[in-house]
């Protein structure tokens, strides 16, 4: 499906190549020396990619059909048993629902807030480049650094959150947030948002700056209020950027690992465990490589199916091109 879209689109762009280059390309095609150059230039990337990206995915697919401890060759063929096991395992089913909750929170809370801040920083505001610099800074910190910092900031002893909650007289930040199964997922979401809202904000800012000033000015001249301009001019034109940011956010939630592993290890009692954490537990701690591979494959299929549907039904509208529109359309 994806491929046919790409090839169809590319035919269009190839026709649009200016004539001299088309002739040069046609001339080059015939020469064996050019073929040699093509092979030579493409080979290193291709070998690296096939060996270390494609092969592992295929290997995971193969291993998922075995009950295998990861040593020697796979044995004990079990067919789809590992997959049925996953869908009967309360932990894994919990992973799925937690991923759903995190995706929902990102779409309803994190992205709209980032969009609002991008609009804010798009206003003529003194010192806005300074604000932008600070808002984006957490994105360059590693998830591990962020996670360790926040375990200490929100720690029950000597934490910052505890102090603040004492001042404010509320219990919500009293330090047990990561130890309480009912709050841990939301605390996790807050830390993730702390790190990533600046990233989405930057995407929206870049998208916003691509909107010609004449359009918003014309709307304002016609008497549209600031909200109307945003709702009927800016927001539709930001569509492609928003759709990309949603895509990255969903894919990111499906494969979440670092932050969870360091903040909570998936606990308490699995309350913050994600698919990647479950996979790591089984693959690297309990040496149930077959089962862990099945979980990998489920993660992969979820990402792939989401990406394909997204590409087919959502991103197709965007002539701008996108992460999943493989060909280049210009």
């Amino acid at each position: 499906m994806t491929q046919s879209t790409v090839i169809r689109k590319d035919t269009g762009s190839r026709a649009a190549v200016p004539a001299p280059r088309g002739r040069a390309a046609a001339r080059r095609r015939g020469r064996p020396r050019q073929l040699g150059a093509i092979v030579l230039f493409l080979l290193p990337a291709l070998v690296l990619f096939l060996l270390l990206v494609i092969a592992p995915i295929l290997l995971a697919g193969y291993a998922s059909a075995f009950k295998w401890n990861g040593f020697g060759l796979p044995e004990n063929y079990v067919g789809l048993d590992n997959f049925t096991r996953a869908f009967q395992d309360p932990t894994f089913l919990g992973d799925l629902s937690r991923t759903g909750i995190l995706i929902g929170l990102s779409l309803v809370v994190q992205l709209p807030v980032s969009l609002g801040l991008a609009m804010l920083l798009n206003q003529p505001l003194k010192g806005r480049s300074g604000y932008r610099l600070i808002f984006f800074a957490p994105y360059v910190l590693s998830e591990v650094t962020t996670a360790v910092l926040f375990t200490l900031v929100l720690s029950p002893n000597r934490g910052l959150g505890q102090q603040i909650s004492e001042w404010l007289g509320i219990d919500a930040l009293n330090g047990a947030v990561f130890a309480d199964p009912s709050t841990v997922l939301y605390a996790l979401f807050l830390v993730i948002s702390w790190k990533y809202f600046g990233f989405h904000m930057i995407l929206y800012l870049a998208g916003r700056q691509g909107i010609p000033r004449e359009l918003t000015e014309a709307a304002t001249t016609d008497g549209a209020s600031a909200w109307q301009v945003f709702r009927h001019v800016t927001l539709p034109l930001l569509g492609p950027t928003i759709r990309i940011s949603v895509f990255l956010s969903v894919i990111g939630s499906i494969q979440l690992f670092d932050m969870v592993w360091v903040l909570t290890g998936g606990g308490p009692i699995h309350a913050s465990e994600t698919m990647a954490v479950t996979m790591y537990q089984f693959g690297f701690r309990r040496f149930e490589v077959g089962y862990a591979s099945a979980i990998s494959i489920i993660m992969f299929l979820l990402s792939l199916i989401f990406a394909l549907f997204y590409q087919r039904y959502v991103l197709r509208r965007d002539t701008e091109g996108a992460l999943t529109t493989m060909g280049d359309q210009r």
Binding site: A37, L52, Q123, S142, R158
Partner: protein, 280 residues
């Protein structure tokens, strides 16, 4: 009327500033807590987590800076990031050159293959990758982190560079060919120098990705002497779980290189993310 508009503008501007400052405080406060906390001892942290240290206790920082472990992890992270960039930008530039400027059968299929790689999350491949690396004898070897990182960085790097290479006018290539330039000569002597801004951008993206990678070094390096900063920070937290002030100092020190790099390369980083995510 115009005076009323200015007053309204001023009020709006004040609100905007207040919101910005509040958000900025949410960002800065935890980091500031870490920086100051590193200058306290644990007693001070319990009684006075938010205020200035009194007295200032520099021993947490000086102790870490005086130990060999931190510097070795910093060196490992640097070595691995630089090597990853060399491999991924070198191979991607060559591939992007082919995709941008040669017409041949199957070009789009190969390109699609790479682009699909954008959807392959690291977490999915980590287990088979580990088995593969073990089979190749690359565990506890920096290449075991460098090569997979480079491989996973190929899609986005190729996509950005191809876009850039395409925008270099065909006339430049025609002229070079007429002057007797081979494809390699054109690539090396004309295309790469012209593409310096794009190369800088993708390099910055690759460095940040490598610097922050945790899962791969975590499984590849059992030998502590190869640990990178993220792995080291996590282990340090485990080791000194009760010594909050010391862990804060370690976290803060490990943030400094990333933030310093951000200060230098901010423009490149942001333009790279923007072009990677909006233009494809």
């Amino acid at each position: 009327m115009s005076r009323r508009a200015t007053a309204a503008d001023r009020a709006r501007s004040t609100v905007l500033h207040l919101v910005s400052v509040a958000i900025g405080a949410l960002i800065v406060l935890p980091v500031g807590f870490g920086v100051l906390g590193g200058f306290k001892d644990n007693g001070q942290l319990s009684t006075n987590p938010l205020g200035w240290p009194e007295p200032w206790v520099p021993e947490n920082y000086t102790g870490i800076l005086g130990s060999e472990v931190f510097w070795r992890q910093l060196g490992n992270s640097t070595l691995i990031a630089l090597a990853t960039v060399l491999v991924v930008v070198g191979t991607s530039a060559m591939a992007a050159f082919v995709f941008a400027r040669f017409a041949f059968r199957g070009r789009e299929i190969f390109f699609t293959l790479f682009a699909v790689g954008l959807m392959f999350p690291f977490a999915v491949a980590i287990l088979p990758l580990f088995i593969l690396l073990r089979g190749m004898g690359l565990l506890d070897n920096p290449l075991g982190v460098i090569l997979p990182q480079a491989a996973f960085g190929l899609p986005v790097t190729i996509i950005i560079l191809r876009q850039f290479f395409r925008n270099i006018p065909a006339e430049v290539e025609e002229a070079a060919t007429l002057d007797g330039c081979t494809p390699f000569g054109f690539f090396w002597r004309i295309l790469l120098p012209m593409a310096k801004p794009a190369l800088a951008t993708v390099s910055v993206l690759a460095i940040v990705a490598s610097w922050n990678n945790f899962m791969l070094p975590l499984v590849v390096f059992t030998d502590q002497s190869w640990w990178t900063l993220p792995v080291g920070v996590q282990a340090f937290q485990g080791q000194y779980a009760d010594d909050t002030a010391r862990v804060l100092a370690y976290v803060v020190l490990s943030m400094i290189p990333a933030l310093g790099f951000y200060a230098i390369a901010e423009r490149q980083l942001i333009s790279g993310l923007a072009s990677g995510a909006t233009k494809g």
